[in-house]
């Protein structure tokens, strides 16, 4: 994999994410990049389902939220270290997705998309009633939880670096799958599932496996993100709008392309940040984002990278 230029690009991006705010010490920039990194994790793992396999997971945010909840519970109630909590959250949400996938991945097209919305809402409602998770009022971190990481100020930097590492892991995971036999099977499923099955692709297992895999890193990042915030609430953790925004990011960059997923997420985050602070657009942030999405869907369905790769087909080979 290290022979591919993309591998080195990922390393360079990670270095930039670490060094630029690290050297300048700019906390505002760090927060903005942190959000960008979280979005890149969400969009590139969603890409594994939508772009690679052709299954539209509308409730993808459930993995992030559930990971956040499990991790926060392990940290606050059982006093685990945040790293172990994050890993265990990733593993358990993955397992949950695997079992869930065996059921709902029998549904195709719009039916699958609807089921994922239903699952996100069901999980949100269940968590809101689950008292160990704090019910509707959520869970809060005590200040002392940051002590093992050298106090709050220090901890925020460390968590940021960790999220950046997971962002790099997401991109490399996408690259590794794209250039594997497993990935080829997924693409075949995306193009024509019945044909893929006749050609020998064990589709039920492949779909469940990628569903579980696409849950792992978002769940880990969920733990870190809500740990950083110090609080987790059902409404934020299972925010259906963010779920759909992740799809917008993916579409913006170009579904199926690794570069596009990352690029779309990053640009969308910056764009949204700009709209929120702009005096002219702050009220119309949703409207502008909606118009942008509509324009992509109607006029540029391949997204930005889809367009670039069509103009420069050789670039696709070099990059991905």
């Amino acid at each position: 994999m290290y022979k591919r230029p993309f591998f080195w690009i990922v390393l360079a991006v990670i270095a930039a994410f670490v060094l630029v705010p690290g050297i300048s010490g700019d906390v505002g920039l760090r927060e903005s990049l942190l959000l960008g990194a979280v979005y890149i994790v969400l969009a590139s793992n969603l890409n594994l389902m939508i772009g690679y396999t052709g299954y539209v997971n509308f409730g993808n945010i459930a993995f992030f939220g559930l990971g956040g909840y499990i991790g926060m519970y392990l940290v606050t109630a059982l006093h685990w270290s945040v790293w172990l909590a994050s890993a265990v959250a990733g593993a358990s949400v993955s397992l949950f997705a695997l079992l869930l996938g065996l059921g709902i991945l029998r549904l195709r097209g719009a039916y699958f998309a609807l089921a994922t919305i239903g699952i996100n809402e069901a999980v949100k409602a269940a968590v809101s009633n689950f008292s160990p998770f704090g019910g509707a009022s959520g869970m809060y971190l005590s200040f002392s939880s940051f002590a093992p990481l050298g106090g709050p100020r220090h901890a925020l930097w460390i968590i940021y670096f960790a999220i950046v590492v997971l962002m790099g892991a997401s991109l490399l995971l996408s690259l590794a799958i794209k250039n594997s036999k497993f990935g080829l099977g997924l693409f075949a499923i995306r193009e024509d599932e019945d044909a893929a099955i006749v050609l020998g692709v064990r589709a039920p297992w492949y779909k469940s496996a990628i569903f579980a895999l696409s849950a792992f890193l978002p769940a880990m990042v969920g733990t870190l993100y809500f740990f950083k915030n110090g609080v987790i609430l059902p409404e934020q953790a299972f925010d259906l709008t963010l779920s759909i925004e992740a799809i917008v990011m993916l579409m913006l960059g170009g579904q199926g392309t690794i570069f596009g997923a990352a690029f779309g997420a990053f640009v969308y985050e910056q764009f949204r940040g700009f709209l929120l602070v702009s005096p002219l657009f702050s009220q119309f942030q949703l409207v502008v984002a909606g118009i942008l999405l509509l324009a992509i869907v109607l006029f540029l369905p391949g997204g930005f990278m889809g367009w670039v790769y069509r103009k420069l087909p050789r670039l696709r080979k070099v990059l991905e």
Partner: protein
């Protein structure tokens, strides 16, 4: 010659309609076996039953000594039984080479990705698509898509290949080329072939034996010469024996 596929008393109903009823036959290694019958006779349904796309209501299908009745298609092809579709199913947004690589990776060949690509290129040469390897499959014309369909199935390295109306929609030159490919598959690769075809001349020419289906039931089975002179077949098939003889070239 040893027996490759044995179909015994296989049947399938669709909501009270008998699509296939009590069909039995066997195919030997290296054999070309023709399957003919009027439209709606249940030929494609029989293919679907054999490769596991649908589950039979009755009967048994044994392939290379193993009972494959009701096994899902991805397991059947792994055992060495590949097929093509009458309505081609190219993986449109993937290259021609990747389409065939899927066959090589997931079929009986079960190759690793690295070994699958060169193998796929070999097969593309066989069907004269090697100069299109990097094109998207969706951009091929219908003849190209038909060849791709065969190439993918062959890349799986099957012992038995089911061909569903591979010649339909091709012009005479393309038909001649395709017939040559089918012959080579048997003669050079040792692949047994079960083919559905409407071009009588071709199927009579190619097949070692022929099975005739009508309304889901077996009407006759035997060598081409026998089938061509079977009055029941001729009447069921065309209604008019004189016309039939003309078409079959046996008058």
């Amino acid at each position: 010659m040893s027996e490759l596929l044995k179909v015994s008393e296989v049947g399938k109903n669709f909501g009270g309609v008998r699509a296939v009823h009590a069909v039995s036959f066997h195919i030997d290694e290296g054999e070309i076996f023709g399957l003919i019958g009027p439209n709606g006779a249940g030929k494609t349904t029989l293919f679907n039953l054999i490769n596991g796309v649908i589950r039979p209501d009755a009967g048994r299908i044994v392939f290379r000594g193993q009972d494959i009745t009701g096994l899902p298609p991805y397991r059947v092809v792994r055992l060495g039984l590949a097929r093509t579709h009458q309505i081609v199913k190219p993986l449109n947004d993937m290259t021609v080479l990747d389409n065939v690589t899927v066959g090589a990776c997931f079929g009986a060949a079960n190759l690793a990705l690295k070994a699958a690509r060169p193998a796929a290129r070999e097969v593309l040469k066989l069907v004269n698509l090697d100069n299109r390897a990097d094109q998207l499959a969706g951009e091929l014309n219908i003849a190209g898509k038909k060849r791709l369909e065969i190439a993918r199935a062959v890349a799986a390295r099957p012992a038995l290949l089911l061909l569903d109306e591979t010649l339909a929609g091709l012009n005479p030159t393309e038909v001649t080329h395709m017939i040559a490919v089918v012959r080579r598959l048997r003669d050079e690769y040792g692949i047994a072939i079960l083919m559905i075809e409407h071009l009588m001349q071709v199927i009579m020419d190619l097949s070692d034996r022929i099975l005739v289906l009508n309304f889901g039931e077996m009407l006759a089975e035997g060598p081409p010469a026998e089938i061509a002179n079977n009055t029941a077949v001729i009447e069921a098939y065309l209604g008019d024996p004189d016309l039939a003889h003309k078409i079959l070239g046996t008058a």
